[in-house]
């Protein structure tokens, strides 16, 4: 095969890989508002798990996940800075039922729950710095559609 054609094919692969990389990076860590109609029951997540009185950062991790430990550290820090906000980390490795129930396609995925445990927002991948506080604001102001009883 002609050398220029080979370079063109490899160059094409580089372009495709770069595009995929930017797409993945661009979507990662952004906060996405949810309808707030789905409530998470802490008892389904495991024993001894309780949610925060104001909000909860519910992180889903897995065994093979390089960004989960860093995300855990960061979310724990955010939770400690916000009284009434709790950080909960759930390992999906043994809980495929949860991955199916909540449609979790990547780890870490973080749900921001309001005081009732309703999912106010979600963040796929390792969260951007402003995403978590933005999500907490959605949860606290009840900007989502969750009905108030």
């Amino acid at each position: 095969m002609d050398l220029s054609l080979i370079l063109l094919l490899i160059g094409g692969l580089v372009v495709v890989s770069t595009a995929v990389g930017f797409l993945v990076k661009g979507l990662e860590g952004r906060v996405k508002k949810e309808d707030g109609l789905t409530r998470v029951d802490p008892r389904t997540l495991g024993e001894d798990i309780s949610f925060g009185s104001i909000g909860t950062l519910l992180q889903f991790s897995s065994e093979f996940c390089t960004k989960c430990p860093g995300t855990r550290k960061y979310l724990a820090q955010v939770a400690s800075e916000h009284p009434g906000v709790t950080h909960v980390d759930v390992d999906l490795t043994h809980r495929q039922d949860l991955a199916q129930q909540f449609n979790i396609l990547q780890t870490p995925t973080t749900f921001i729950l309001d005081d009732s445990g309703a999912i106010a927002a979600r963040i796929g991948g390792s969260p951007r710095p402003e995403a978590v506080t933005a999500g907490l604001e959605i949860a606290m102001k009840r900007e989502h559609d969750s009905y108030v009883i």
């Binding site: 080979i6 490899i10 692969l13 890989s17 065994e63 996940c65 860093g70 999906l92 780890t107």
Partner: protein, 178 residues
Amino acid sequence: MSSKKPNPLAAKPGTAGIDPRGPRFGATITLITLTVELIFLLASPTALSSSNSLVQNFATPAGILLTLIVIIFAIGAFAGIGKHPYGAIFKALVRPRLSAPEELEDPKPPTFAQLIGFIITLVGLVFALLGITTGAVIAVAFAFVAAFLNSVFGYCLGCQIYVLLVRAGIVGRGGASA
């Protein structure tokens, strides 16, 4: 809070965590070898032929290099990322020139990624030995994209695939994959 339970993701106490920059360095070398492999495959697409014997197809530049790539992935997947040859190069030549890592990483994720790489390149090698150049090129191209994402973007494709497997119920409790 889940603080009562030990964190299953951090490097276990007593077992050494690895420098996360090591696998990324390795992915860069893998990317280069895969590029050369693609050049071999594309430069003489007729070198591999289904009318050749397996040994004849093996004894081509593309066949030999792809075999080496598969062997190196196999070492990473089955002996563990800690015994990876490129990891040894990283430890000997690169890490002494870098500052200490901010955080150590569980060696299991990159080991799983090596397994994925092993399977993809093994499929490519089977195609190559059977003389099906197009199949080999496609498999190597997939490995190239994965290595590129890991090397350039630090994006762990293995993690995502693992979660999808968990979700599909193929991998679950205990560890078909462990």
